[in-house]
Symmetry: C2
Subunit: 442 residues, 2 copies
């Protein structure tokens, strides 16, 4: 039947097909529009800051277009006011750090690029008619090629890439147009003023209307990653040993077992965020010399820990296949769950300490010490080989491998705590140890 239908369809003329397609078009377009609107709604619900950002950009553009609508302002700047509009569109970013970084880059680059262009223009005017464009061309070529090459420097690329581009841009605009325009100094100054005005409008709107501080986002991201690992470890302890005691687990929420996956690939994102956060020296809590590198250190160690957790997870899948509880697994059950729960708690305590910017190390150290003791117990159990002489090696090996990974995770969390302590002392986190006693908490 299908075959006949398709043959029939192929036999009809191209006009009939086109007509069918056209008839279906309004329905399709409507479905597309509805789908698009739904997606937009979801996007806004996922992160309402996006809607705020869009409105902020609209406000900033409306503000800056007053340069055209208000007569006295327009008379002062004339068509150069357009550079202010352009600047707001180009500089206004989602986070304060990105906006500040772009704004400062743009202002400095316009200043230095314009100054160099005026200098080059002075050199070129020393030559006569035909010589002038040739000298100008050669100088422009040399400077553009050099600065373009400088953009490949990793250190410059990370923070000043936009500035170098605007430097080239301003330099080209001013020096090239200097050949046909005699009021070059005036033009460079006008451009600089309007760009400064545009940058300030963008920065002020960005900071004053519900600002998104990327430093805060980075701090939350680092804390959330630690929390994800903590959730995994706690859940793994429960899941793995429930499996061995009750057979297959029921289908309740296991999302915590996948949460850690995003941690594995968050390195680039964290570095980019730290680079932007460095511009946010006006933030009341972070200040000028906030140790963003220390956050990256904690983040890198968290990722190392996440790799180990990826291992654990692969063993968990393995056990879902052969879910027969073994005696060996029951034997090492206690220290394993202890390591999981104590390391998990330590990581979650760390996460909340980072979020609240507090130095509550005694609770964390308490959990770390517990997990170290459990790891030593497990180690000595694994070394008592005589106890499992007649056990099935095929069953012992994966369980023992899980034990070894768990033992490995303990020094890993310890390193994270050390990195946190360095961060806390450098960033002058509030000390809270006197108020909370570890005994109360546990």
């Amino acid at each position: 039947m299908d075959n006949i239908a398709s043959t029939n369809f192929e036999n009809v003329g191209p006009f009939t097909r086109a007509w069918e397609w056209l008839k279906a078009l309004p329905v399709r377009l409507w479905a597309m529009a509805v789908g698009f609107a739904n997606k937009m709604k979801k996007l806004g619900q996922d992160d309402p800051r996006r809607i705020v950002h869009s409105l902020k950009v609209g406000v900033a553009i409306t503000l800056v277009s007053l340069f055209y609508y208000v007569r006295p302002l327009f008379d002062r700047f004339r068509e150069n006011g357009i550079w202010a509009v352009l600047t707001v569109v180009l500089v206004f970013e989602f986070s304060v750090g990105a906006t500040l970084g772009k704004g400062l880059n743009r202002m400095l680059a316009t200043l230095s690029g314009g100054a160099l262009a005026v200098g080059v223009d002075q050199v070129a005017t020393l030559f006569d008619g035909t010589g002038q464009p040739i000298v100008l061309g050669i100088l422009v070529f040399i400077i553009v090629a050099t600065v373009t090459f400088m953009r490949f420097f990793p250190a410059l690329k990370a923070r000043y890439d936009y500035g170098l581009m605007i430097f080239i841009l301003t330099f080209c605009l001013v020096s090239v147009s200097s050949y046909q325009d005699d009021e070059i100094l005036d033009m460079a100054c006008q451009r600089l003023y309007t760009i400064i005005i545009g940058c300030f409008i963008a920065i002020i709107v960005c900071i004053c209307v519900r600002p998104v501080w990327i430093g805060e986002s980075l701090q939350n991201q680092i804390a959330n990653n630690l929390e994800k690992l903590g959730n995994f470890l706690e859940g793994f302890g429960r899941e793995y040993f429930r499996l061995s005691e009750e057979g297959h687990s029921t289908d309740d929420d296991k999302s915590f077992l996948h949460g850690y996956k995003s941690v594995l690939t968050s390195k680039d994102k964290e570095e980019a965020m730290a680079n932007l956060a460095r511009w946010e020296f006006w933030h009341y809590r972070f200040g000028f010399r906030h140790p963003w590198n220390r956050y990256l250190k904690v983040g890198a160690l968290t990722q190392q820990c996440a790799y180990k957790i990826e291992d654990l997870n692969s063993y968990l899948k393995y056990f879902e296949i052969q879910a027969t509880p073994t005696e060996f697994r029951r034997e090492i059950h206690e220290p394993c769950t202890k390591i999981c729960s104590e390391s998990g708690k330590a990581l979650k305590e760390l996460a909340s300490a980072i979020k609240k910017m507090r130095r509550s190390t005694s609770v964390i150290n308490y959990h770390i010490e517990n997990s170290k003791i459990a790891a030593e117990n497990l180690m000595s159990m694994l070394n008592m080989t005589s106890r499992w002489d007649n056990a099935n090696l095929r069953e012992i090996i994966p369980t023992a491998a899980v034990g070894l990974i768990l033992i490995d995770i303990v020094p890993c969390t310890e390193k994270i705590v050390e990195a946190f302590q360095e961060l806390a002392s450098r960033a002058r986190f509030e000390s809270m140890d006197d108020r909370v006693s570890p005994i109360d908490d546990v």
Copy 2:
């Protein structure tokens, strides 16, 4: 002594210190300049394409500035020629894909943004004096906020983010300046022409002078990643079992053991490259519908394999500490090295097949089959528990864990081969099987 010296230094006046600092300044500046020059030299030596790129940008800018230097051209476009210069600076990127993407985005966005602005201007002129800027302001606000919000769509952000920004830019420029300028249509057209000219100059210089195709780079990156894993596996087999037979290894080149690390975090980079590669539909080998998603699939599976290799590596470190050769390790030596060498060869064959765009699957399948046989042997060895009843469990477990990971790696490489075969058939790789016989090659 140190203490006294520092006290002395602290006691001298600020002027003396400033003078000391000033005296040392030329030497420091010279050292900085030399260091900078050396870094630039190294950057150029690492990738000479960077130097070529810088020169290409210089050439394109010089070409486009002819609009100012050549009188008839200047008379045609007047100051609007500056948009062409601006376009070349903004659009010219390192790879052809990025330049094409930005160029097409910019041209389309300028066209559509300008058209919408002219339409908005027509609506605004229906109102009288005071009403006009208010209506204009409201419409600009709504459209700017909506398009800014659309930039958050993941699908649009990946490929059209620049276009949406330029759309906002052009729309604002044309509609805002329409309030003071009556020749708005003429202005929009002039801007469009000059931007098209700028884009074409950038694209032509980018393609004609030693082009960098990002599709090729992506293909090489995927192949190199596979090669790194292959090298690791081959090296791991040698290293691990030489350790157990001859004690500590000598200090020869072990760089292959770290090469795989970069594979773990290459996902974002590969996705960005694939997005840019989609613009390169003029490339003679890749064409319009080259299956870049399939490359990403191979890349993702390669990363999964790299995680397993990260595990193996951690065991290698473990063994450098307790380097006593065990009987058990000697027992399973043969299938383990076989898996390593055969999987390694398969991955390296795959890498060269991708680089040459050839479909030489029979050699690869031959290695895969060998590794599968070895994995089965190893599995049955591990299952014969009776043989190691009185062995030391502490010594057996890590070795057996290595064995289990190696067994896991075999289906992993098989999946990569499957993904490659799909890629090869979609991308119409050249079939080479009839020419090479697997026996000759091995």
